[in-house]
Amino acid sequence: MNALIQVNNLRFAYGDAPVLEDISLDVNAGEIIALVGADGAGKSTLLQLLVGQLKPDEGELRVLGLNPTNPDLRSDLAYMPQGFGLYLDLSVQENLAFFADLHGMDREHSATKIRDLLARTGLNGFEDRRAGQLSGGMMQKLALACALVTEPKVMFLDEPTTGVDPVSRRAFWRLLEAVRNDGVAILYATANMDEAERCDRVTMLDQGQVIRQDTPLALVAETEGQLVSVQGKGVRGYRDALREFPGVAFVFPVGPRLNVWLHSGIRLETFREQLASNFSGLEVQPLTPTLHDAAVRQLASSEEAGRGS
């Protein structure tokens, strides 16, 4: 089966400033693909290209087999821009009905659909509340409902959980996973690794280039070296010293500890002994890396590569 979203060798620049270089990815029906990267990595630009608001300089884009600028496409896709794109002076019900009407949906059908979505998002009882008076989490659910009301086949979400509390974020993900199970292809831009971890595959962007692309598990597994945590009194003061320590690839603080990526081939025991002979009172524990840890390591080494070249 063909992927619903296809990007092949995409290149895009604003004037002389390259924004995206040689991007390729695809999203199949029933998949959520995470697009992760720091601010300015090019995530939003890629989404805007895919919804037809920008035109690529080179490369091929296909959404449902069509060029993204094709207006026929718009009835089948949903786009949730940063800041949700809701009408704050309209009520919950009016926002939903407006988007349903724009898609030319039959009134009876859309009324059923809206009722169903209000129930699923927990927004029932708030139908007449203005969108501007909702909490961040509810606003985000309304934005998702506005995207879903038109029964899209493809969804583009641009950092939808920014500024939303963790409980609402979990509720949002439960909804999204149900949508995925309905066979919708979802491209999900985010800066949060814990969200990317819930996606089927992850595309890591850095300065407009794809640096890694795989399932979250594979990305973690493929990361070279061993992650350990170093703790002890005043350990954070040793950050610079540890950075220069033999066998250490990368050091980053997590709470009161320092997490340390060791180069591959460095044995935990060796590191522990060497550390003990140089610093006193430090304890070393092996850690199971998360996607976040892997990404930190990845970004650090691509930065090093950038400096080296």
């Binding site: 919804v51 037809g52 009408y87 002076d89 009407d101 724009l102 898609h103």
Partner: protein, 358 residues
Amino acid sequence: MNAVRLSLIRLWALLGKEFRQMLRDPRMRFFIIVPPLVQLVIFGYAATFDVRVADVAVVDEANIAASRELIDAVAATGHFRLTHVGDMDAAEHLLERSDVRAILRFPWDFDGTGQLQLIGDGSDSNSAQLVMGQLSATLRDHLLQNRQPPLELITRAWFNQNLEDRYYFVPGIMANVVLIATMILVAMTVVREREHGTLERLMVTPLAKLEFIVGKLIPVALIGLFDVILITLVAVYLFDVPFRGSFMALVAGTMLYLMSTLGMGLLISSYASTQQQAMLTAFFFLMPMVILSGFAFPIRNMPEWIQYVTYLDPLRYYLVVVRDLFLKGGGLASHPFQFGMMGLLGSSALGLSLFRLR
């Protein structure tokens, strides 16, 4: 067929949304109704060039029957409050302190003929001209009547017999209010969508660009028409300004005029990314448009090259149409040049903005 139906459904959805937003916003409700009425009342009552009562210092050095007769004639008009002073020094002092607007002096050698002196306060040239004009007209009339045989100059102002300033101002206010309200509203409603990020979202729905633009223009055009009708009713029933032309011609002229004001509003929205920018840009265009329209300053008095520039000002044409419809009468066919020019400017402005927003 089905495509047209769907397009109308989308347009209808957008129109419903626009009206809801407009009527829900208290600032918007205020903007549609209050400023037109406030401006109308201010111009109808307060802004008048008619001289009601002006203070004038009189220096009668001659003090003969002829001079006293003239002074009485001036006093009899009721438009002047006279202050008699003994000499020019005292009169000049009053003028310097702005206690009087003008000095009327009969020199010691005045004997019913010869020279009279009239001195006005040029620091306020507008009112000086008015006061001096009215004073000299009174004096001239009186002198003409006393000639042997008497000579009477009979003047009449057509269409506005008493030269009521509000007859002149009220139609002009209408043209200005419609311009300001519609141009700013269109620019604001489009830019607000951009500012709030909803435009980005809308452009990824089946709503076509053209449907979006039409959906934005129709509500504002209706508001423009509403303001025109509101002002006409207030002008006729509250200010007793006559409306002698055809109402259909007023509606048709307004529609043509709206093409320009809406087109300019759209054009501004294609350049502005915030509502504040849109507002400032709108005012940048509004001032010259009003000044070059002939509303306050006659176009024929302008330097020739500026007169050519005024041909680009839609307000110039609408002003003539509205004023004539109120005071002279006329119908759909009475202003082919003005209607044609408004149509031309309107289609250019709309065309250009469509091209920009494409």
